[in-house]
Subunit: 493 residues, 2 copies
């Protein structure tokens, strides 16, 4: 049966991608600088080989034949995903795939140092090469899929998403978010928030992080936690590689970063084992992935009841001080303050960081702006949204993120789509299990994660996004749940 | 030109082997238990793919055509190595390669726990499967290369070596080594050796190890040190992954283990960069590799002058105590004492461990004994050579080594061939640079390593072993230099 041949073929691809994922993790966490050139070449070689495997002529024949075979609904969903990945892969010539992989590895590796040194002049030519190749990718995809170039990039991360829909949901946010930021800022103006006094030794932060990962169900038999300059969640579902970074001056952002990545990790660890290695067994989309990490971070991690739960553990590691009371931690974590760094942003100002990047990368990919224009536009948009200047401060401005360095244009919107989804999931979960605070206080975290597993993780890519969300929450994506969540938490509406 | 096509083909193979090496290192150092099944499958998949690449039909045509092309001496040496690897690869069917890779991964992974639990009953069936498949390998190789089965395995690690030659050099050792062991034991009987009193914290041991690695020239821009249950030196020449293991009760064996692996690492890091990625740019053989690690460990590391050099660093980490004087460290490291564990053995008794394993694996591969016979034979040979019993103690007996778990039959002789080579190199080096002690005392370690680089590292596989050794020392391998070294160091002859 052709369908069986497709499954065997996908299993081979998955196994080679396993090695790619582990070596990519190693590149970011373990590899010494001098190993970078050979590693980049080795990974590009595998990428070319994977590309050849994905686009092998017989795959098209098997797909055509499988369409006439009698398949279960799940097999049919798998076939749909196989077809989508196959179409994605064959759009690009092998030399473009290799060139982008090499340029991306070089740009990303050099960026690690360049960012520290605020070296825009060194970074810009590397980024320029990545943009040039990414535009080729976008153009080829756009022509074949009959979409505008940026939509063709979005489809890589968020099948079904488009500039039209994004402008709609982000436009909705633009209507109420600036006002909410102002309102929250005024409400919080008189609030006394104590800053925890360090130092907070790395070893203690790591031990605390591991405890909190256990509390929220990370399976250490199928994963681990390490350090990288830009935190991520990689590896494979049976061996999830989470990373964080530590700053001994403060533990607050690293701890919540760990909680965020644990959300990604639990989704990966919770994917249905019987579908591992097949496209239908993969995470649904980047927005759904971010919905799981942001559920953990924002809906759960920032919830005052959760902070009450972990406050004693925090004090056990860092000693007693008034700033580490549950009440102060809640004020600290729910402080709304416009800042330069996306990953450190509170959930109210976070969408501003995303919309800014979305507008820039959309125009960059579609050729309306150039790399050289980025710093000035970044500065202007940061002023407009958050009233902050970044001129000359590339490190905390347009060089702060890893995403563009390897050509992941089209990814950023997923963060805010994920935040909306997480809020929507939370209100649906509360209909089934009761209000979050009482779920946490009753020690019912396992029930909470079992709900996410049943509604999201177990479905992997067996359903399209709209159907997945409708089954879980009763409707497709709507920004009104994020608005309700933010207004409830921050202005008590 | 066909030769150029062969070089490009080898570069591809080398890049994929890079990923295999890093994932193999990760498997031993980082991977959680739950990741083992998927990793074994992924690595087997790549092994099959590499096998297909190495045996692609066009390679034979390119080799035949390249033989008629005008090549430099180095290109000709590379072509010879390419031909040898190609012949090695095409001898085996892909399904046997895959089966052995899977069985080896499973056996090795389970062995990590089984060894701790002294679980011979659990280990034996896994090893039996590896032996069964390795015998198939040996038989197929023997038929094609017209050699006896064990010679066909030796050729994988030590081209040109044979049972006949091994019986000759090991026979030479058997004539004088037992007498020397007795003589040294008697001389050392009255010697007072103080045992350093711990604990020796892992962090301090690691810091000391890193310092000593720096002292002997390890390049941390192209490598790192981690922990695994069985120390090894892996990775790739531009990113060498060394491992060790720590025991807080004593630092002596871990420190010398690090020095040993650093010898392997410097050889890899010192291979000629212009030949990286080609077979002629690889280490010459396992015996030559062991000669470099044993030169570092035994000729250099155990030398009283070297121990004088590092004694102050040792005391800086672990505090002052009489056992850490240079003189006591020299007595400690040069103590000859029959023991159960090969990797902890002194250099006088070490060959006994190797000859025992050589005799067992030779007979195992050639079907004269079975896995079930190993424990009893191990016990008998340990009694005969070193007067020690291992009955029932599998952990410190036949389950102590990793080599057999993944089918590396034919490797063990390399250790003692390497010890002989290291001794031979030392006397040649002394003719050029002066006596080792004065080289060390004069701070001329860089000159010592420059000599090894010029004589060994830079030649990679550009010369056959006999020629390499003759150029370096004036003659082919002879056991008399090891005898002279041991008699000089241990009985003052």
């Amino acid at each position: 049966m052709s369908y069986q041949q497709l499954e065997a073929h996908q299993r081979q691809i998955d196994r080679l991608q396993h090695l790619f994922a582990i070596c990519g993790w190693d590149q970011a966490t373990m590899m010494p600088e001098g190993g970078s050139q050979a590693r980049a070449e080795a990974m590009a070689e595998l990428e070319v080989l994977l590309h050849a495997k994905k686009t092998a002529p017989e795959v098209g024949d098997w797909i055509a034949a499988a369409e006439g075979e009698s398949l279960s609904a799940a097999q049919q969903a798998n076939l749909n995903e196989i077809r989508r990945h196959w179409q994605d892969a064959r759009l690009l010539p092998a030399d473009l795939v290799e060139a982008l992989s090499l340029a991306g590895s070089r740009c990303e590796h050099a960026w690690r140092r360049q960012r520290q040194e605020n070296d825009w002049a060194g970074f810009a030519p590397n980024l320029g090469e990545v943009v040039r190749l990414s535009r080729d990718v976008a153009r080829l995809r756009a022509e074949a899929l009959e979409m505008r170039p940026y939509d063709a990039m979005l489809a890589l991360y968020e099948p079904g998403m488009s500039v039209v829909k994004l402008d709609q949901v982000f436009g909705d946010l633009a209507n109420w978010l600036p006002g909410l930021i102002t309102e929250v800022s005024e409400r919080q103006r008189g609030e006394a928030v104590l800053t925890p006094v360090g130092p907070f030794p790395t070893e203690q932060q790591k031990a605390l992080g591991l405890e909190v990962m256990s509390l929220i169900g990370f399976d250490f038999n199928h994963g681990r936690l390490d350090v990288s300059s830009h935190p991520f969640c990689g590896g494979v579902p049976t061996d999830v590689r989470m990373t964080t970074r530590y700053n001994e001056e403060e533990f607050v952002s690293s701890l919540m970063g760990i909680i965020h990545e644990t959300g990604h990790a639990r989704y990966e660890q919770g994917l249905p084992r019987e579908w591992l290695g097949q496209p239908a067994g993969e995470a649904r989309s980047m927005a759904i992935h971010e919905s799981q990490s942001l559920f953990c971070e924002m809906q759960l991690g920032h919830h005052p009841a959760f902070l009450s739960l972990i406050a004693p553990r925090i004090r056990a590691h860092f000693g007693e001080q008034p700033a580490l009371s549950a009440a102060n931690l809640a004020r600290l974590y729910n402080r709304v303050e416009p800042g330069l760094i996306r990953v450190d942003a509170d959930e109210v100002t976070y969408p501003a960081h995303v919309i800014l990047r979305y507008e820039l990368e959309r125009d960059l990919i579609e050729g309306r702006i150039e790399v050289a224009d980025i710093p000035e536009l970044w500065d202007a948009k940061m002023q407009q949204w958050l009233g902050l200047r970044t001129a000359g401060n590339y490190r905390d401005g347009c060089m702060q993120d890893i995403h563009w360095t390897d050509g992941s244009f089209g990814y950023f919107p997923s963060y805010t789509l994920g935040a909306m989804t997480a809020a929507q999931l939370r209100f649906a979960l509360e209909r089934d299990l009761g209000e979050m605070g009482s779920v946490i206080e009753a020690g019912r975290l396992p029930a909470l994660f079992a709900w996410l597993s049943a509604k999201i993780w177990q479905h992997a890519s067996l359903l399209p996004t709209d159907e997945l969300l409708t089954q879980a929450t009763g409707e497709t994506l709507s920004p009104r749940w994020l608005r309700r969540h933010l207004e409830q938490r921050y202005v008590g509406k």
